[in-house]
Symmetry: C2
Subunit: 170 residues, 2 copies
DNA sequence: TATTGTTATACTCTATAACTATA
DNA sequence: TATAGTTATAGAGTATAACAATA
């Protein structure tokens, strides 16, 4: 049983313990809520990305490759997926002419993945679309609330070892 | 180009504008980050739920049914999925003897879904496991940071019309 | 005719395991 | 023998569309 905003119980400070528990329901835990909102956020982002021929999962790769070419296993580790998934994502990005696979001459097992000019352009557009999506989701948030939310998420990503130093809160 | 913690650019206050943009990368947007962290969170929650024979998606249903029986379309709307998905989830919960489908005598098209005693027990255990998962993900957060994060997420869920009044921040 | 629930099907995202070519 | 990348396959998540029973 949850009280509406500004209810008597809240005003009198009863909301913080006892009858109205702070975290009584699964739907209020990060464990569950993050999963559901992740689907919502991905869906909205995907809808905006579709005209570019990209999906959300491609964007992290474009990001990671923006400053220097990387090997496929590096990418897999950085975005937290298994190597075979990266193969598939790169196949799609290569077909979209966004990346090139270049055989490493010093170790012919490796391939260095580099962004093409088109890939850089796609990355810039993707960032803009992600920002639009954020603005939609953060409508009504003030600057401090939005920053607190983003900082918290970045911190969890960091502790999960995702995106390396690219995703560091300022 | 992102500066490491405590870099010269940051120390001199240049980090807030110009060269080091606050939100230059896709991996720092909610649109992308929420999707990725949602997968991580769901994976961790699922690992803890597995011994119960439940997956994260079942938990919202157990939650919504905790206080009163509901029809399948109500559930579908509340958790933001298409009705055929609810059929599948309820088939699984019914097989686990966590819910019962009871034909509504006043409108024989509808089925009222009610929690069994076992379903209530599973729901309580699921909440406990979700909390454990939260504690793992929020390690190192102080109370205010954790609350700000949760409040922000609940607010987005609310604006997306999810979970009805059950998911209201205090 | 409209609505509730169901089935069939398909698409996306992911992972595991077995394979190749290089080292 | 170990490593980088690839392929094949399978599981979990989603949605759309066509259908039966009931209103």
């Amino acid at each position: 049983m949850r009280m509406p905003y500004g209810s008597a119980a809240e005003s009198f400070g009863q909301a913080s313990m006892g009858y109205v528990a702070t975290e009584e329901s699964v739907t209020q835990t990060l464990a569950f809520l993050l999963g559901k909102l992740g689907q919502v956020a991905s869906g909205r982002f995907a809808a905006r990305l579709a005209p570019l021929g990209l999906r959300p999962r491609h964007c992290a790769l474009l990001e990671l490759l923006a400053h220097a070419p990387k090997a496929q296993l590096e990418l897999a580790h950085a975005i937290g997926v298994t190597p075979s998934v990266v193969v598939d994502m790169l196949d799609e990005l290569e077909q979209a002419e966004a990346v090139r696979r270049v055989r490493d001459s010093t170790d012919r097992r490796r391939q260095l993945i580099e962004l093409t000019t088109k890939g850089r352009r796609l990355r810039r557009r993707a960032v803009a679309l992600a920002r639009e999506t954020d603005e939609e989701m953060l409508a009504g948030f003030d600057t401090a609330q939005a920053a607190a939310l983003r900082t918290g998420l970045l911190r969890i990503a960091d502790s999960a070892g995702l995106f390396g130093s690219v995703t560091r809160p300022s």
